[in-house]
């Protein structure tokens, strides 16, 4: 701050000095000091122009005289008595001068109005001086807000002057042309009348004056033009720097709090408000910077330098977006490459893409739009165009990845990631109206919808291909022990996961299952479809497809069950797989909802049937052994050989069952124990009562030992060993010994 005050104190007396010297000179001459400054300010090819100005200096005295003569007519006044003008005073005068209406009544222009007051030159001197200080970095942009604003105000005055001068010069031109015409006509008429001659003389005099004035004005015009260009060039550079610095600042700083501008930041708290590398920070411009950019943009637009401003803006933001995407880990992959990538690597890119896409749609684009709107607040349509040019490319590139994923070879495992992408697009589409200007919404929406639809179509196709993978699974080797088939696990888990995407899949199926794609250009024929599907109206196509898959799985499993030679084992197989399916469905709310209660009940009943069938198939013969039927002859005597045979058969059968069925598998613990309990409750009481009733008929000792190999407790133990999938339970006799 102190430095600025110094600046001022240096400036003012210095200016006064100039004005004093100017008072003695012709108003047009530059004070040596300013001239020096002006020269300094001129870079490279500028010097020629300085020479021009030097050359010009001495000439326009005539014009000056006129100016002085006419001063009273002018609506403003520069009186020598007033304190020598500093920039502020001159600026006021300029403002007043500019505020005065300058529209001329075309033909009837009073000379006075074309005269440019002398303080204009003074003003320009001062502006040049100021600009030189900025350019030489003696003063930096952003150091003091007031200085910057006053500079911008000066620039604004320059622009206005420029406009005024070019209007004047054009009018002059056209008037001149008209007069030339008139002259020509008059010459034709001849020079008979003296009066006219006189008049003509007068006119010529006037013309001469005008010509001087014109020359004068055009020299001034050129000066203003050059000053304006230099000012604009400087502002453009500052604009560029501000754009870039804000971008750089948004990057993590290795030195922490160090301000990359290297300037005194007026508001120190703003750096605290700027948590580094938070995505929410996008686009990361400080309010101060935005205000500054807006001010500069306003002046550049006003001066007609809008294209420069836009160019700098768009190039800078383009790089910024590129950096941002890079930072998010998003990498552009060509469509060709996506087709060649292994799914494992492609799969990793998808969450990054989704993240990037969402980031763009929710943070970056709104942020960008706000930024461009605040910087170019003077011209909303220009802001929209800039925003559109920038974001459109980003959107298209992102969508290309979605398209290329949709194009990649279909595979079941791609379903869920495709649906994730689908959902991302679907959820963004309703917000497009808010995100994009009107004239581009349709185009972007069409593109996004197309990518979304393609992903949706792919999802439908992949899901429908499940049918094929079931149909094609027709191996002839049964799974050992009647265990759960891998196909069951795969399909059911896949379906279960699909049900987590139930709503999306239903939507996708509603929209795309009708698409008839075998014919080239034709899209769905809804009418026909509708007639057909009227009866199925309340069933969603997804549920229908899912049910179809489940039915196919059932059929397939039934076929697989037939591969077992033993009927009870195929029952166990069906129970295992059925149980697995039922349990999986029950533990997922969505899956359960899709399949419905009726279906679930039916499946549970089926399970019980298999259970029953198993019991009958396995234990029926055993129970027959234990039946008292046939062991009583009419006298109430028990035929011993028959009894012995019964015991022998039972022992062999039970041993056999134990031997084989302990290698069988029942995955579900609950079902296993239910099964064992039900077997026990079937066999043990029967055996117990058989023993109780008939063991007495055997001779105690050797005979009993030979025929009664199991006590009721033993039976229970062995039953508990069934379905463990353990071949080591093996023969029980050895262990008993």
């Amino acid at each position: 701050m102190e430095k600025n005050i110094d600046d001022h104190s240096n400036t003012f007396p210095h200016k006064d000095e100039e004005n004093n010297t100017n008072a003695n000179n012709t108003p047009h001459s530059l004070s040596p000091k300013t001239e020096e400054n002006a020269k300094e300010a001129k870079s490279d090819g500028e010097n020629e122009k300085a020479n021009d100005l030097d050359h010009v200096k001495g000439e326009p005295e005539e014009g000056d005289k006129e100016e002085k003569e006419n001063e009273d007519v002018l609506t403003f006044e520069v009186t020598p008595e007033t304190p020598p003008p500093n920039l502020e005073k001159v600026s006021e005068d300029i403002d007043q001068f500019l505020a005065t209406p300058h529209e001329n009544n075309n033909n009837n222009v009073s000379d006075n109005e074309e005269k440019i007051p002398e303080f204009v030159d003074k003003f320009l001197d001062l502006v040049e001086e100021k600009m030189a200080r900025y350019k030489s970095c003696e003063k930096k942009w952003g150091e003091t807000v007031e200085e910057d604003s006053s500079f911008l105000e000066d620039v604004n005055r320059v622009s206005k002057l420029m406009k005024l001068l070019s209007i004047m010069l054009t009018e002059f031109q056209s008037r001149e042309e008209k007069e030339e015409e008139k002259e020509g006509e008059e010459e034709k008429k001849g020079e008979e009348e003296n009066e006219k001659e006189k008049e003509k003389e007068k006119e010529k005099e006037k013309e001469l004056q005008e010509k001087h004035a014109k020359k004068d004005n055009s020299i001034l015009f050129n000066r203003v033009d050059a000053i304006q260009q230099r000012a604009m060039s400087y502002l453009e550079e500052e604009f560029h720097l501000l754009m870039e610095e804000s971008r750089v600042e948004n990057k993590p700083e290795p030195n922490g709090a160090h301000d990359s501008k290297g300037k005194n930041v007026a508001t120190p708290e703003s750096s605290e408000n700027e948590p580094i590398e938070t995505p929410m920070d996008f686009p990361g411009f400080k309010d101060e910077a935005i205000t500054n950019l807006n001010k500069i943009a306003r002046e550049m637009l006003f001066a007609g330098y809008d294209s420069e401003c836009c160019h700098v803006y768009i190039v800078s933001r383009k790089h910024s977006f590129g950096d941002g995407l890079h930072k998010l880990g998003y990498e552009r992959i060509s469509i060709d490459e996506v087709q060649r990538m292994q799914w494992e690597s492609l799969e990793r890119e998808i969450p990054t893409w989704i993240n990037t896409f969402k980031e763009c749609a929710t943070v970056w684009f709104p942020g960008e739009r706000k930024l461009v709107a605040s910087i170019f607040s003077e011209d909303p349509s220009m802001a929209d165009t800039l925003y559109t040019n920038l974001t459109r490319v980003v959107v298209f590139q992102l969508l290309n990845f979605a398209e290329s994923v949709a194009m990649a070879k279909r595979a079941a495992e791609k379903l869920f990631k495709s649906l994730d992408m689908y959902e991302t697009l679907r959820d963004t589409i309703p917000n497009l109206e808010k995100l994009f200007p009107k004239d581009i919404v349709d185009e972007i929406k069409a593109e996004m919808t197309s990518a979304k639809n393609r992903l949706g179509e792919v999802a439908v196709l992949i899901f429908c291909e499940l049918e094929n993978s079931i149909k094609n699974d027709n191996g002839k080797t049964p799974v050992a022990g009647g265990a759960i088939h891998p196909l069951t696990r795969y399909i059911i888990n896949y379906l279960r996961l699909s049900c987590e995407y139930k709503d999306t899949l239903e939507e996708v199926f509603r929209e795309h299952s009708k698409i008839e794609r075998s014919d080239s250009t034709s899209r769905p024929r809804y009418e026909n479809e509708n007639q057909h599907s009227n009866e199925k109206e309340n069933e969603s196509p997804f549920t229908g497809q899912l049910t179809r898959v489940m039915e196919l799985l059932d059929t397939n499993l039934e076929g697989k069950a037939k591969l077992y030679k033993e009927v009870p084992l195929s029952c166990i197989f069906m129970m295992n797989n059925g149980r697995y399916i039922v349990q999986k469905i029950k533990s997922s709310t969505e899956f359960y909802q899709v399949m419905g209660e009726t279906w679930y009940r039916k499946r549970s009943t089926e399970l019980r049937t298999y259970h029953k069938n198993y019991q009958i198939e396995t234990w029926g013969k055993i129970l027959n052994c234990l039946s008292p039927k046939g062991l009583n002859d009419n006298n109430g005597k028990v035929p011993k050989p028959a009894l012995k045979e019964r015991f022998k058969t039972f022992n062999t059968l039970f041993d056999e069952i134990h031997k084989t069925q302990s290698t069988w598998v029942m995955h579900d613990e609950q079902l296993k124990s239910e099964l064992r309990v039900s077997i026990s409750s079937l066999v043990i009481p029967a055996y117990r009562s058989f023993l109780g009733r008939f063991s007495q008929y055997l001779d105690p000792g050797r005979q009993t030992e030979k025929y009664i190999k199991f006590q009721a407790e033993d039976i229970e133990t062995y039953i508990d060993e069934l379905f463990d999938g353990n071949p080591n339970h093996g023969t029980m006799a050895r262990r008993r010994a």
Binding site: Q229, S307, R332, N389, K471, S518
Partner: protein
Amino acid sequence: MPPTTENQQSSFLGRISIRRNQVMSMDGSNDQEQEDLELFQKHVGDRFSDLLSSTTEDPSSDALLSIGWIRKLLDELLCCEAEFKAVVMMGRDPAQICKPPLDRLLPDLLDRVVKALDVCNAVTLGIDAVRNLQRLAEIAVAALEPRPMGDGQVRRAKKALNSLVTAMMHEDKECGSSKGTERSRSFGRRGNAGKDRGGGSFRSLSWTMARNWSAAKQIHAMSSNLAAPRGAEATGLASPLYIMSTILVFVMWTLAAAIPCQERNGLGSHLPFPRQLAWAQPMIGLQDKIAEEWKKKEKKGTVGLLEEMQKMEKVGQWLIDFAESFQFPGETERLDEVKVHVEELADICRKMDEGLEPLQLQIREVFHRLVRTRTEFLHVLDQAGKLSAPTV
């Protein structure tokens, strides 16, 4: 989306599909099909010979490689593509498409389609960058149009034109090494900001494709296994597949030559077109012309063959020379000359302004059409696969 394309195509499609149906139901004799194939070849030849002759015979029509001409080229591509599909796919039994040699040729074509999609995208990005050049040219027009012409405006124009010409010259130098992007990324500090203001090279004006992606390599890959069918194949469906592939390669090559896009070194090498086939003659003629231009370009090191860009560069250079010698208020004669040049530049800008966006949209249309066609062919292949596979 020119309505003419749609009309032509739909009538042709309609005719073929009706005929095909009749033929099929009559237990297809091959004659009808042969006729279709010949018709397709003839149409392709006609379309491209129109494109060729329009550049030589009719000076009032769009010049070779101008925006207007490229749009015509894309129109023809779309038409050919629609006819191709009609000939090869419509109403045909999928099993026919899967028989050798089509089982090999069709996937090759679909692979070319994928590569063409990337070229489309690269060119779209290129057009975006050309728009930036247009903006620079517009600055020059805005500066040099009004009279009187002051030193400031002349300097302004010079600055913009210098950026324009530099950007046009520097493509190949900066391109290729990834340093190009690094460098443009790192500018921004006060020290070096002056040098690269607004992006010195064309690269820094444009978005990049995937790393290591190269237009030249892609196009080379598209054409590498392109061989004209011989013997018995030459009369079968292999022929339209080959024609379509050739068209695709040629159009993509032309696009990449006309509009700057990532990595084009080696694009000048000749495409392997068959000199002996009648339908290919106009394409060969065009290729020779464009390759000639490309050679000149490589010598000069400028960015694109797009006619408007070449003109822009020429006029830009002239105006820079003028700007360097300009002294206020300038000589009337010289100023009149400037006026002519500025008008020309304004005219180019107007053409770009009117043409680039529709061109971009049209390329997008090509993109979508190719995607759709690929999907449809895959679907047919799928169906055929299901039919032939010994499923339960």
